[in-house]
């Protein structure tokens, strides 16, 4: 599957008239499967030059993700809509320009020691 086909499978291109915030994604809007808002993103180590067709927002994301950063932090930091960031991240993931570290979804509830650490951390605030 080419990256374009994959993108087509992933994103709903039938978004009707292109609406302002999604103009930078060519009208593509996030489909059902999204990255977790607290998934951690990191720019992949670069083998060579960046692909020339990256948009400024892609580059902004790569710059902000030089050290690990969550999806939500990226959106807040770059002042982009969360849904837009989802689409741009997908583009970068397809081109293997970023690594994603999804939080453990299956075992949503962390173990007791983590929870204790959270309580102690909050008390110490």
């Amino acid at each position: 599957m080419t990256s374009n086909e994959r993108a087509a499978a992933w994103w709903d291109r039938d978004a009707g008239p292109v609406v302002r915030p999604y103009a930078m994604t060519g009208g593509r809007v996030p489909a059902a499967a999204r990255f977790d808002v607290v998934a951690t993103v990191r720019a992949a180590p670069l083998g060579g030059a960046l692909p020339p067709d990256l948009q400024p927002e892609h580059r902004q994301i790569l710059a902000a993700a030089r050290s690990p950063i969550t999806v939500a932090d990226l959106a807040a930091e770059l002042d982009l809509a969360l849904g837009v960031v989802q689409v741009l991240l997908h583009d970068l993931a397809v081109q293997e320009l970023i690594c994603l570290h999804e939080p453990g979804r299956a075992s949503a509830v962390p173990d007791e020691n983590v929870l204790k650490a959270v309580v102690n951390g909050l008390r110490a605030l």
Binding site: D12, D14, A15, G16, P17, V19, R20, P21, Y22, V29, R34, D36, V37, V38, T40, R42, P45, P68, T70, A72, D73, A75, A76, A81, L82, G83, V84, C99, H101, P103, G104, R105, A108, V109, P110, D111, E112, V114, L115, K116, A117, V118, V119, N120, G121, L122, R123, A124, L125
Partner: protein, 200 residues
């Protein structure tokens, strides 16, 4: 280039949702306990024409901006709590679905003068099985309902904590979060006991 190692130093990110009706104090609570930043999303809403004369079947797609409260609290060196507060209107549930996935738990803020406003949030978390508590925001301290009255009015399960708070107060809001995490711990303990008994 030790990427395996750097992955292990990624902090553990935990999500807590702050829900409740319009103007109940969600933004106030999140900003009292965390460094708050504006976060927004543009959601594409598909609405088939509600007009019964509309036989064209043409779907209308529009985007709507949803503003969220986005707070971040570092607890210890390797755990970060992320707080997400967003409007509790029904039309935003799709957004809650995204945020609630894998969430640690939720705070449902309630105002006793408009208690019904938090019904949808309570229903939502009950149905999803997300651990939650109800925090009654005591506007001007007037509405100090007995927590039992709130519990009855909301028809809550006996194990769901109901606490009073002042969302403007850091300490009070912090206590709400602590009670929530302790509630999650209780639930974990409860679900784990039968399993360990079985394996024993």
């Amino acid at each position: 280039m030790d990427y395996a190692r750097s992955d292990r130093t990624v902090p553990l990110a935990l999500k807590i949702l702050v829900a409740g009706g319009f103007g109940v104090g969600k933004t106030t609570l999140v900003s009292a306990v965390s460094e708050i930043r504006p976060l927004h999303t543009e959601e594409v809403l598909t609405s088939a024409g509600l007009d019964t004369d509309d036989t064209s079947g043409v779907e209308q797609k529009t985007t709507t901006t949803v503003a969220m409260d986005f707070g971040r609290i570092s607890v210890g060196s390797d755990i970060v709590l992320y707080l997400f507060g967003t409007p509790g209107q029904d039309r935003f549930w799709f957004l809650w679905d995204e945020l609630a996935h894998g969430a640690l738990g939720a705070v449902v803020l309630a105002d006793t003068r408009r208690l019904a406003d938090c019904f949808p949030s309570v229903d939502y978390f009950e149905r999803r099985g997300t651990p939650f508590l109800v925090a009654v925001n005591c506007f001007d301290g007037e509405q100090r309902f007995a927590t039992q009255a709130v519990r009855n009015a909301l028809d809550l399960d006996p194990d769901v904590p109901v606490v009073l708070c002042d969302a403007r107060d850091r300490r009070s809001s912090k206590d709400v979060l602590i009670t929530l995490v302790e509630h999650v711990m209780d639930q974990v303990a409860r679900t784990q006991t039968p399993a360990s008994v079985r394996s024993w």
